[in-house]
Symmetry: C2
Subunit: 240 residues, 2 copies
DNA sequence: AAGTGGTCTAGACCACTCG
DNA sequence: GAGTGGTCTAGACCACTTA
C-alpha cells in the first residue's frame, strides 16, 4: 500500500469500474470471483470483499452467495451518487453553465424566522442572503435564494460566490461539507419569484429546498432553488 | 452468531440506532470507541468497524481518525434511505393510507412505445397497465399509472395489487427487487390526469417517474405517479 | 462435492489528533 | 505518547448454488 496513494480496496473499485467502462465486464455477466481478485491484486479476501461490497451497495454490481458477482444493467444514470453543487453537476454533464448574482444582502435574523431557528441565531445576527440566476447554455434555468450562517462565515465577498459555493467553502475556508437534506415540491411562481427571473415564467416551478451541514453537524446554509419545470428535472436512484 | 438470526454487525448497527433514538447517544457527542464496542459485544474490531462504517455511510454518525465517532445532527428526516413503496413509506410515517384501483388492462406494446422499448418487448406482447388512486387519511394524494413487464409476471390478478406492489412481488412471485431510477418534475395536470382524480385539481402536480429493476438487472416495472403539490413533497438526503 | 459470497477472528501497522 | 479510526492479513466456518 506504500507505492500508491490510494488504499488498495479503492484501487480494486476503480479497476472494476474501468473494466465495465471498457466493456470487458459486460451487463448481466459475471466478473471474477473474490479469490481470483486476491491473486490479481496479491491481497486478502477481506480487502477484495470490501471493494466489491461497496460497488454492490452503490448499485454497480450485484452479488449472490453461491453464484457469483454480476454487472448490473443501467439505463438513465451510470454515475454513483455524490453530493454535488450545480456547477459541479453541470461540468460532469459537459454542459456550459454560468451563474449571475442579482442580489447580495445581510438580513436581520428576525426577518426570516425559519432560517433564524435553523441556524440557531440571536436577534442581532445577520444572515447572508444571496440571490442568483442559473444559466445553462445562456438560457435561464432557475433562480436561487441562498442563506449562509454568519456563525460559519462572518465576512463574505461577492466575488467569492460567483462559481461553485461548495468549492469556495472547502477550498478557501477549509471546512469540510458533510451532508444535506432536501425537499422537492411543485408550485406556481409567486410575483416575487417572477420578478427574479430574466424571462417570462409560464410553466410551474420545481422547488428544491436544501439545508447543508458541515462534517461536525453544524448547519451552514439553507437554499431555495426554483427551477423552470420545462428545463430541469431531478434524477436519482435507490438501491436495496 | 448462532443464537440470533441477525449478523453481529447488524446487531451493533441496531444497537447504536436504538441508543440514538433513546437519547443516550446525543447529537454532536462522541459514542464509544471501536475497542469499547469490541468489549461490549465480545467481538473483533473488524466487525465493529464494519457496523460503524455502514452507519457513517448512511449519515447517521461521522468519524474522524484520531478523534472518534460522533452522532450527526438531523432536522428534516432521521430515517436511513431505503427503497420503499408508498404503502411501506406511509406505514413508517404512522399514517393511515389506502389505495383504490380504478383501472386494470393489458395494453398492446405498440400503444406505449416508450415502455415497449424499456421492457424490450415484441409487437405481440401485452403490457400490464394499472391505474390507482392513493389516499392518506381518506384524502386523495396522487394518481398512479403502473406498467408491469409481461416477461416478469405473465398473469396478474386484480386482488394481487391492492396493497404494496413490492411486497406482493417479493413474497408471492419470489423475485428480489434490486434498484430503481427515478425522475421528478413539475407539471400542470392534463385533462386525462384530471379525469383520474376523484377531486378537483387546481394545483400543479409533482410527477414521479420510476423504472424498477430486479436483482439481475431486468426491468420489471415503469411507473408514473402524479402527486398533488399541496399534499406531497419528496424528501431526501445526500452524503459525501 | 466444489465453489461462491457472508461473516467473523485476532492480530498488525499506519496517519492522525490531542493533551 | 496514548488513543483514535483507516487499512490490511491470513486464516476460519457457514449457507447457498450448481453440477
Amino acid at each position: 500500500m506504500d507505492a500508491s496513494e490510494k488504499p488498495l480496496y479503492k484501487q480494486i473499485e476503480d479497476y472494476v469500474l474501468d473494466q465495465i467502462d471498457k466493456g470487458i465486464y459486460t451487463e448481466g455477466e459475471p466478473i471474477p470471483t473474490e479469490v481470483e481478485f486476491c491473486k490479481l491484486f496479491n491481497t486478502s479476501r477481506a480487502t477484495v470483499n470490501k471493494a466489491l461490497n461497496i460497488l454492490a451497495y452503490n448499485g454497480v454490481i450485484y452479488r449472490t452467495a453461491g453464484k457469483g458477482t454480476f454487472v448490473r444493467m443501467y439505463s438513465m444514470d451510470k454515475q454513483m451518487k455524490k453530493l454535488m453543487g450545480f456547477t459541479e453537476q453541470m461540468k460532469m454533464l459537459n454542459v456550459d453553465s454560468s451563474t449571475e448574482i442579482i442580489g447580495y444582502s445581510r438580513v436581520k435574523a428576525d426577518r426570516i424566522p425559519k432560517v433564524k431557528e435553523l441556524f440557531k441565531l440571536g436577534n442581532d445576527d445577520f444572515i447572508h442572503k444571496i440571490e442568483r440566476v442559473r444559466y445553462v447554455e445562456h438560457d435561464p434555468i432557475a433562480v436561487e435564494c441562498i442563506h449562509i450562517s454568519p456563525k460559519v462565515i462572518s465576512n463574505l465577498q461577492v466575488e467569492d460566490i460567483g462559481g461553485s459555493l461548495y468549492k469556495f467553502i472547502e477550498d478557501t475556508i477549509g471546512v469540510k461539507i458533510g451532508s444535506s437534506n432536501f425537499v422537492i415540491s411543485a408550485m406556481n411562481a409567486t410575483d416575487e419569484i417572477k420578478s427574479m427571473f430574466p424571462c417570462e415564467v409560464n410553466v410551474p416551478l420545481l422547488k428544491y429546498e436544501q439545508e447543508t451541514f458541515l462534517m461536525n453537524g453544524v448547519v451552514f446554509e439553507y437554499n431555495e432553488i426554483y427551477y423552470l419545470s420545462n428545463k430541469y428535472q431531478y434524477k436519482g436512484s435507490n438501491f436495496r
